[in-house]
Point group: C2
Chain length 211, copies 2
């Protein structure tokens, strides 16, 4: 990033270059998502965000109204990023529906391993912090989970239609339980700094599908 514009104009408006404005805003979001994924909302200070992004401290409020508003944007950004990851797996027509479900878990495991199990799921982490978060976060986080569940549910339905999983399974309930357990598995993997809990959960979940 150019250092030329890095002059600290306390709470001043940033330079009126729309491309640069957008670029910095995107950078703040990227850094925010990273920090939130590692440390949660309460422990993430705006000082750390602007420092890591190389953005003058005072100009943060030119991009976001408040830490709360910033947090809501971060949830949206993460949900969008994650939805496209889910779609990549769940809509992969070169794999059977059951394989797609398994693929997602394998890929997520790789992503978690890449960061040495130091990073979790931003949405799961926020859910855990709920008592200390602005109330506006609750519905947004619930909505994100519902969206992921709906994607899993439709993939399970396809698997069921093709006889890959048992006809006894209630796909809606199973998708809900999948995300409940998967978030629990990420939590344990972060705690233990190893893939073991994800593997144990994956094996158990797949074997619970029948056929």
């Amino acid at each position: 990033m150019s250092k030329v514009v890095g002059i600290d104009r306390t709470r001043g408006r940033p330079r009126k270059d729309p491309a640069e404005y957008e670029e910095r805003r995107e950078l703040l979001i990227r850094v925010g998502v990273e920090l939130l994924t590692e440390k949660g909302f309460v422990s993430t200070g705006l000082d750390e965000v602007v420092k890591k992004a190389g953005v003058p401290k005072g100009s943060f409020y030119a991009y976001f109204e408040s830490k709360e508003a910033f947090g809501l944007v971060l949830i949206d950004s993460y949900a969008q990023y994650f939805n496209s990851k889910l779609d990549k797996c769940y809509l992969n027509s070169s794999r059977s529906p059951l394989e797609r479900i398994s693929d997602f878990m394998t890929e997520a495991r790789q992503n978690l391993a890449r960061f040495d199990f130091l990073r979790g799921c931003l949405v799961g982490n926020l859910g855990q912090e709920m008592a200390a978060l602005p109330g506006s976060f609750r519905q947004k986080i619930v909505d994100v989970f519902c969206g992921w569940q709906a994607k899993t549910e439709s993939c399970l339905r396809e698997a069921q239609k093709l006889g890959e999983i048992s006809t006894d399974i209630n796909c809606e309930k199973k998708a809900e339980v999948f995300w409940i357990g998967w978030e629990g598995a990420i939590l344990r993997a972060n705690l233990e700094r190893r893939a073991g809990p994800l593997d144990a959960y994956t094996t158990d979940f797949l074997s619970s599908l029948g056929p």
Copy 2:
């Protein structure tokens, strides 16, 4: 509690009455466990602990060496309390082993409902905060989970011996997966402020046991 001794002697030793010392220490632990269960470690300030316990602020360090040392004592205290709750269910000879497993979930659900799903599992919460916690917490939290898992495993083995659950089940793995998923269910119940996720998980877990 008596107000007479409530004089703030900054970092002074508390009055050398062993019973009173012990009583205050216990009170600090009780308040600490409550706050930790609701808010986690990072968000819980020592100021809030001493204020809620009615203990002079400066005397905290006469009871505990540091916030870290306090946290470790809180984990032990919670684990001990929770182990006795588990034993009460899992060793209840008036119920079959499978009923005991179900009883634990029912009872835990009631406890969570009593606090309007505002409180979670202290150990689960700490696991989620791990990135921001002293390293000494990690092994302690893992050990607590292993202890709980061992209790669940032996109850599952008894159920298996009596033909209540399928002989195909690996009781050790199932106990690990139970705690992974159960912590995930508490997380979601706290997020949604309702029992739904616990019920969905309970139904799915029990149906996964066969026979």
